[in-house]
């Protein structure tokens, strides 16, 4: 299990690197080498590290540990084909990590990041609609049952594309450089991660690489179903590249536009959900 975790960490970092490279190429820049994010994390971990004088020490460190813990847990939930409700729970709890990162340091930039993170809480609701729709269609939230259902009835991606689109938006809103990434926009330096440097930043990079890996992996498992692991990886890469296209071509939205877009997406999925329930 630990081997899979480490594999996921490095793959996730590599995916981040590919994401940056793809965005750079689309925008006509050479971009960094794809292993740049791995080097980045290592570099940060070698750097001198302390806790800012104004920070709430325990929270400042605990949030980093929590970030690592929840995404390792999420990975194991996928690995053991557990309940996607728990996955959804962990995804929501990630919000707490974002708040905690921003608020714990006392830095105004971090605080703005945290406030924006509260504002963009609407991005979590499409996932709820996704879970609800999947539950109504497959009758279970165990990943193993969902995979079995897809083996019998074909991939959910084709059965309910709007739900897949909702989850796609959810993943998009958590990607680096995404149009929805207002919490780490450049005008507030690095947003809620501004004050986490050195080892803390390295650990956060590890956690966020796990997050990217888990979200992509979950999308493939939930909407495509049980296929060989190599094929899963290829699909994850394709998914990531499509996300990179969106991130490269869309400007970052203002916080209010972000919330509007996410609320609209939620409303559309809710309408679809009601339609599914009525038909069923």
């Amino acid at each position: 299990m630990i081997d899979f975790l480490l594999f996921a960490v490095f793959t996730g970092l590599l995916l981040h690197g590919i994401h940056r490279k793809a965005i750079a190429r689309i925008q006509g820049r050479p971009g960094p080498p794809i292993w740049q994010e791995i080097l980045h994390s290592l570099k940060f971990s070698f750097k001198e590290t302390w806790i800012p004088a104004t920070a709430s020490e325990v929270l400042f460190v605990a949030v980093v540990l929590v970030a690592l813990g929840i995404w390792s847990a999420a990975l194991f939930i996928l690995l053991l084909e557990g309940s996607i409700l728990m996955l959804f729970g962990i995804y929501m709890l990630h919000k707490i990590v974002e708040h905690g990162l921003g608020l714990s340091s006392g830095s105004p930039y971090g605080k703005f990041g945290a406030i924006r993170s509260v504002i963009s809480a609407a991005s979590e609701i499409p996932l709820f609609a996704t879970i609800g729709a999947i539950y109504f269609v497959t009758g279970s939230l165990q990943l193993s049952d969902i995979i079995a259902y897809q083996a019998a009835n074909g991939p959910l991606l084709l059965l309910m594309p709007p739900v897949a689109a909702a989850m796609y938006i959810v993943i998009l809103s958590k990607m680096h450089y995404s149009p929805f990434a207002i919490i780490e926009a450049k005008e507030i330096v690095s947003g809620n991660r501004t004050e986490h440097f050195g080892v803390w930043r390295a650990a956060l990079d590890v956690a966020f690489s796990l997050k990217t890996f888990v979200l992509l992996y979950a999308f493939v498992l939930i909407f495509i179903g049980g296929i060989p692991f190599a094929a899963v990886l290829v699909l994850m890469l394709l998914l990531l590249l499509s996300l990179s296209f969106v991130c490269a071509l869309c400007p970052m939205l203002s916080p209010y536009d972000t919330v509007t877009m996410q609320s609209l997406a939620t409303a559309l999925v809710a309408v679809y959900l009601v339609a599914v329930v009525v038909i069923a």
Partner: protein, 60 residues
């Protein structure tokens, strides 16, 4: 010290799950608890000291 202990817990949990000595969820729980500490402690173990930098800062 802590790095070694938490790392050992992670590896032991992974190995005993592979050898069917622990249920998978148990091993997962152990790793979920130990792995974050392992990552942070590993970094804190090998990171630069708080002493003088090797390149003196000469100002801009």
């Amino acid at each position: 010290m802590g790095t070694g202990v938490t790392g050992a817990i992670c590896i032991a949990a992974g190995a005993s799950a592979a050898l069917d000595m622990l249920p998978l969820w148990g091993a997962g729980l152990l790793i979920v608890v130990a792995f974050p500490f392992f990552v942070v402690l590993l970094g804190l173990w090998w990171n630069a000291s708080e002493g003088e930098g090797d390149i003196p800062f000469i100002g801009y």
